[in-house]
Symmetry: C2
Subunit: 600 residues, 2 copies
């Protein structure tokens, strides 16, 4: 069990560029020399959060470098530490260090749980989540929170559209005996606006939502002191390999791997393999349709119980196929990215995320896009979307929470019964038996797919937002429970935003404009106008293109008009930059400053 | 006449963050403490360029601030300098300083002119231009150079398409007597590809061109030492006004102007006024068409010489109207932006540029877009484009060079006859009689409009690139002559790229995709296919949309695949950042460093 003294903690706080409360009550970038002016800088319990302290200990451990060549006692000669070797990394590869993980704090965890998932409160204790789990987790739950509440307007709109259109239909049926023509006109007028209102609304909503989230995100990052994080020169990943050479950036001798070789590997291996998997998704879809047709024909011929059962076979097979493919792909993506041999951890993560994102998009949306763009069948799209929403959400909740919970309760728990009287050390040891936290990747993917259903296709099924809202309110609680109870605590570097996920959501909201405009041309009302000869199909398509271009321009303008940061954050950030520039100038020009003060 | 001592020059070089040649032969950010390791740092004639020295003198003058309250002798009490008042600004407003401008260096200027516009060389002495005029001018001429040579591929393509299609037409005419059907088929096949090849090529060309320019631009900025310019906190513009208050960023007392008030002024005044002017452009266009119709009818009725003359009236009136409107708009845009009361010079310039750009786009392209999208008349578009290209280029060359040259020769020159024996001081005084250099705004606009003709509409008139190429080869020389001979030298802050113009060109190349895809649907071959019933108009439009989306994706991918900076520049920049981070860390942790060296 390792901890750090106050002086190291404070120096690392400065090095990371964390902001803390100054004696003026505002957040300022922490400076070690000026530490006495920061509130609570003498009390590490309050000054730094648990997550920050744990991260700093890890940061310092991983930054340790050998000052000269040294043999590690009891180990092979090949594990000799050379000058500037990373000690922690070498020890890990030698097997001296088996695992490093931060410990849960029972008292804080209990308190956090009480205010988070036990009660019936609507708001989450985001500050405590950030303090306990770090800002990565803090941003995920804040986004989940913000997203869930942002679903209210589309949910209300969806409900009212559904209500109105069923009302209209009822009226229409009732009045069928009466003035048929007039009612018909009225209905088509109202229903057009329903479909269109939903499409235009969901496009604008997704833009405004992302812009407001950016503002919220930057206020959070101010609040959590990560607004002005120091840039650091990234060390190579442990598994990065290459010929030894002089790094042109640092001038140090370290493994080098030429850029063109990595590009070559990406072009010749990664892209074809990813393409192959995408092809297999399409193939699976085609086989599914083919199988469905075959089974349908068989059923018509035989018309027995067996053939009745067989009707479900293609769906089941397709679901199994998709899941196997997704699991396989995850492993393949990991090894492909490993093979690309990225130097920095961030580059590795970005390439891995990009690979998984492309596949996920394809895997989840290929069928829907196929129905919308190739089959052009709005009714089928609506049915498919509704069933997907219900099934995936159920499956997710079960696999994410129920399974780990059961495993924890019945498989793992018996091995770590724990009483109040156990020595503290045993309790710590028990934590190693918990499974490692798998990261937030799957959680973000789930949100992204949800957001995709909503922004891409919700105009054909207005209740999407309602279903998502209900799902997310429970999701918040189940995720919170999972994170607190079922996994080991994990290290979390301070971050200032959601990173690459922000971009993924924004790309999706752009694709949404195109998808919605296309779906508009398929709206039953426009189709009827076409069939009745009021509008040529060319005109409908031209209308949709115009709408698409106008809406994209509106989107860009709205995004530009809503600043990414609230005004006060902008000023605050400028102030921090100004202060650090001034500090730099003063360090650089000591002679001149002295001269000036002499003159005065 | 003011100059600066070596020590001041060197310190300002560090403050601006200029890069200079280190003793390793590579460029490094200049550091005053390490000055002896930079080559030529003892010889200011070689170490700094003329433009840099002149800018530094201005920079230092404008940075002078009063240390305490002081009265300026011989001036009113309201001109009393208060603590931290900007001395130069106050002196200028008091009329003590009438004008500040850098002097030409006759010897260097003569040499520069010889290698620039006198000879028949194809390449420009860009490094000398940068050294003498500064990097703003350096980047303009480099861009002009790069752009002109980039016109070669589209010019060659345009020539061959024109040649081939006239060949085909000739053949077609000759063979008309023979196998009519077969030739017809061949012709349509070839001409389709001509039109389409040109459209697709010009879209891809504009993307690749912009990406390659970015790379070239970053190499230039490395070469000219502006790769790693220091960010400085911008001082308010002299004409910025507002209530005195404490600036939240600097903590100093200075005029403040609330953001919402500026936004209000933009929303309620600037946007409506700009909209009004855009409306007047459209109105002018409509009047022109109406007038043309009227005159045509009159001519048919009267059929005399007078009515023949009247035929030209609408065109002439329209040109006069457009020019008057453009001149008026320039003044209005200036005062609107002044009224918006921007604090920083950069914000002022950006808003002014944006206003002028929007209007210029409208003014130059409204007629062409109207013909392409509303009238859908390819033949008229071709005619109009050709005449616009010829006329605007002629007019530009005349107004830009010939008029100033004549004015200079016959109006100004007699007043400043100058002989070798004149005292040096008189020669300096003579320079004040030259007109002030109006900036590169008009030059960039001209290039942008050219680029617009080429990328937006060139598929209907393949010879566009050829005409532009010829124009630009002379433009380089005439601009060079103008800058050297006809105007005062101007101050030029070191810059790392073209700034806002880069964005304007990129936006234009995006609009180009849409315009070209639309023009494809109007191509005579597709129209014929439609008329003959081979393709429905819906299919043609759908094809164009698909092409548009695919090409935009290709464009984005190409832009992502070509890195904005060459690999070696990227490494260089990372190295510079790494060095400055290391320096910062060493300054921050002197105690730790000492401890470590003790341990070793």
């Amino acid at each position: 069990m390792i901890s750090a003294p106050r002086c190291t903690l404070l120096q690392a706080t400065e090095e990371l560029g964390l902001c803390k409360t100054y004696n003026t009550g505002e957040m300022e970038t922490f400076s070690y020399d000026d530490r006495d002016n920061f509130t609570h800088s003498d009390n590490m319990e309050i000054f730094l959060t648990l997550a920050e302290k744990q991260y700093i200990v890890k940061y310092e451990l991983e930054g340790l470098r050998a000052q000269r060549d040294v043999r590690i006692p009891g180990l092979d000669d090949k594990y000799t530490l050379h000058h500037r070797d990373n000690i922690w990394q070498k020890m890990s590869s030698a097997g001296v260090v088996v695992d490093t993980f931060p410990l849960h704090n029972r008292v804080q965890l209990k308190e956090l749980g009480k205010s988070w998932y036990s009660g019936n409160r609507l708001s989450q204790p985001l500050d405590s989540v950030n303090a306990y789990f770090g800002s990565t987790m803090g941003f995920y739950f804040s986004f989940l929170d913000f997203y869930t509440w942002s679903l209210l307007p589309p949910a209300i709109l969806g409900l009212s559209i559904t209500y109105l259109s069923s009302e209209v239909q009822k009226e229409a049926v009732e009045a069928m005996a009466g003035l048929e023509a007039e009612i018909h006109k009225e209905e088509s007028g109202l229903a057009i606006s329903g479909h269109m209102v939903q499409a235009v609304f969901s496009m604008l909503w997704s833009t405004v939502f992302m812009e407001l989230w950016k503002r919220r995100s930057s206020s959070l990052s101010y609040r959590w002191g990560t607004l002005h994080l120091a840039e650091r020169f990234a060390e190579p990943r442990p598994s990065f390999h290459g010929d030894l050479g002089v790094n042109p950036v640092t001038g140090r001798v370290e493994p080098l791997f030429p850029e063109w070789q990595r590009d070559l590997r990406m072009a010749l291996v990664s892209i074809p393999v990813v393409g192959l998997f995408l092809g297999m998704v399409v193939l699976g879809m085609l086989c599914f349709y083919w199988g469905e047709n075959q089974v349908m024909r068989l059923h018509e011929e035989w018309d027995s119980v067996v053939s009745q059962m067989l009707l479900y076979a293609p769906s089941v097979l397709h679901i199994v196929y998709t899941n196997v493919l997704a699991t396989l792909y995850k492993t393949v993506a990991q090894s492909l990215t490993e093979f690309e041999n990225h130097r920095e951890e961030s580059a590795f993560q970005n390439h891995l995320t990009a690979k998984v994102l492309v596949f996920t998009f394809f895997n989840y949306f290929a069928v829907l896009f196929h129905i919308a763009f190739v089959k052009q069948d709005v009714a089928l799209l609506r049915k498919r979307l509704a069933s997907l929403l219900l099934i995936t959400q159920l499956v997710n909740q079960v696999t994410e929470v129920v399974v780990p919970f059961l495993v924890d309760r019945f498989v793992s728990a018996p091995h770590r019964t724990e009483s109040e009287d156990d020595p503290e050390e045993d309790k710590f040891r028990n934590q190693i038996k918990l499974p490692v936290f798998p990261g937030l990747f799957a959680e973000y993917i789930e949100l992204l797919v949800q957001f995709g259903y909503l922004s891409l296709f919700s105009c054909v099924y207005p209740l999407t937002a309602v279903l998502l809202l209900i799902n997310n309110v429970t999701e918040i609680r189940s995720d919170a429970y999972k994170v607190c109870k079922l996994f080991r605590k994990s290290f979390s570097a301070p971050v200032a935003n959601m990173g690459v996920w922000q971009i993924a959501f924004e790309v999706l909201s752009f694709v949404a404009v195109m998808s919605n405009c296309w779906l508009l041309t398929l709206s039953p009302q426009l189709q009827r106008l076409h069939d009745e000869g009021h509008m040529s199909s060319t005109n409908i398509v031209l209308m949709a293109i115009t709408a698409e271009h106008v809406l994209i321009i509106v989107k860009v303008i709205v995004a530009a008009l809503i600043p990414d940061e609230p005004d006060w954050i902008r000023k605050k950030r400028a102030h921090m930059q100004y202060t650090s520039m001034q500090a730099l100038r003063q360090q650089n020009l000591p002679s001149e400053e002295a001269q000036i003060s002499f003159n005065v």
